[in-house]
Assembly symmetry: C2
Homo-oligomer: 252 residues x 2
């Protein structure tokens, strides 16, 4: 399992990915799922992946080696894409190419061709953007109405995002809320686990402001987990008890 | 979709069920999923159901008409079961009987024989118990370590339960936390919706203390939803921003 979340707010982009992979509950390992490609002043591109690890790794390898442009026959990499939209299309082409090679074999073994990606970043001259790319190579883009995307085990960590994140949320508050969302997910699904890779990319900076791995023992993250649990526990205490039944005062 | 939660705390049992059914997003209806059978001073039994509505309704109809006891040939109903364990076994037998009749036809149409039930209550002379019954007719029972079960769309509403409910939680706090869990689920999954049926059964009372339907417009529930959203939004503000990146003070 995997959990990745990307948040695009007014001031910038946050991407967060766990690192746990499992082939069954008895075969757990640590793999980085957040890949960052950057050239200072020109572009910062980040890909977070979920799904079948062989598929997502092949997509990344193919993007590094180059995906053939069907019209020109040339090999293209992320470095050569002039816009985020063109770069997202290239990632989609890479996904479809891996499907062409590995998809039928996977299906023959009744395994699903399962991959989903978050693709965010900025190319000089364009705006900061965040896409979610599907197994068919198609993609959607974040808009201010719902300024985040999730891939993998998305349900446990969604309620906090639904309520606390807007496009105007401060960049480091977005990071914090993303980490709370990650914590909620890790608490309820053992298939999602630390360390946690994070990227903070400020709008128009064209270099990562933060590219960091949070280790499980890190005091800030332990403190966040403890405070959030406590906040959840105490939050419901502020709410009056239901005015039904025998032991409750009538006024609420 | 469906969401039902049952909480068994020291003082009693809470069961909560939504009422939305959908055959596709364009075919939504209201069906009661919480069935209560009680005879004052003798027994209170409650069944909450999720899964294929035709299956769960057939299980309930069969339990009302009587399930044949394979050893005696007699028809047995919930009214005649001397203990909660025997009653849970009877529900399991009803599930298997519906499987025998409808299972093969469903599978031929590539529909799953999909049903899961919460079964809670007390029979005079025995203790208050809560079971989760699977499509195979087998079941598990709540213990004080994890004093709740969920069926249906369980993920969105699990984080609050994981953190706020223990066996020693007050009975009406358990109801409140269950309603918060229901609210979290309804907010994130349109397939789960109001009105909401609730049962509160105090230990050894042998009659429902509360058997109630919360309508969507009810002031208490609207207030709970609003307060919980506000509490979630403000809870994260109490947590310091991450000590990473450029715009954050070094001390946390």
């Amino acid at each position: 399992m995997t959990y990745c979340v990307g948040l695009l707010v007014r001031d910038g982009l946050v991407m967060i990915a766990d690192t746990r992979t499992n082939a069954g509950i008895d075969n757990i390992a640590v793999f980085r799922k957040l890949k960052i490609v950057s050239e200072k002043g020109r572009r910062v591109l980040a890909i977070a992946t979920s799904g079948n690890l062989s598929v997502s790794q092949s997509v990344l390898s193919l993007l590094a080696e180059g995906v053939e442009n069907p019209e020109t026959g040339e090999l293209e990499t992320l470095d050569s894409q002039p816009t985020m939209f063109k770069a997202a299309q290239l990632v989609g082409r890479a996904v479809r190419e891996v499907w062409r090679v590995d998809g039928p074999g996977l299906e023959q073994m009744t395994a699903r061709f399962d991959v989903q990606l978050l693709f965010g970043g900025q190319v000089a001259g364009g705006r900061l953007r965040l896409f979610m790319i599907y197994a068919a190579g198609n993609f959607i883009e974040v808009t201010p109405d719902t300024p985040y995307f999730q891939i993998g085990e998305h349900k446990y960590g969604k309620p906090i995002l639904d309520r606390a994140v807007t496009y105007d949320t401060d960049l480091y508050d977005a990071l914090k809320i993303g980490l709370i969302s990650m914590d909620s997910t890790m608490r309820s699904n053992l298939g999602v686990g630390p360390p946690i890779d994070i990227l903070v990319l400020r709008k128009d900076a064209l270099e990562p402001e933060l590219d960091y791995r949070i280790e499980p023992s890190e005091p800030y993250f332990l403190d966040l987990r403890e405070r959030w649990s406590k906040a959840l526990r105490s939050a419901h205490m502020e709410i009056p008890r239901p005015p039904y039944g025998s032991n409750v005062p009538g006024d609420i």
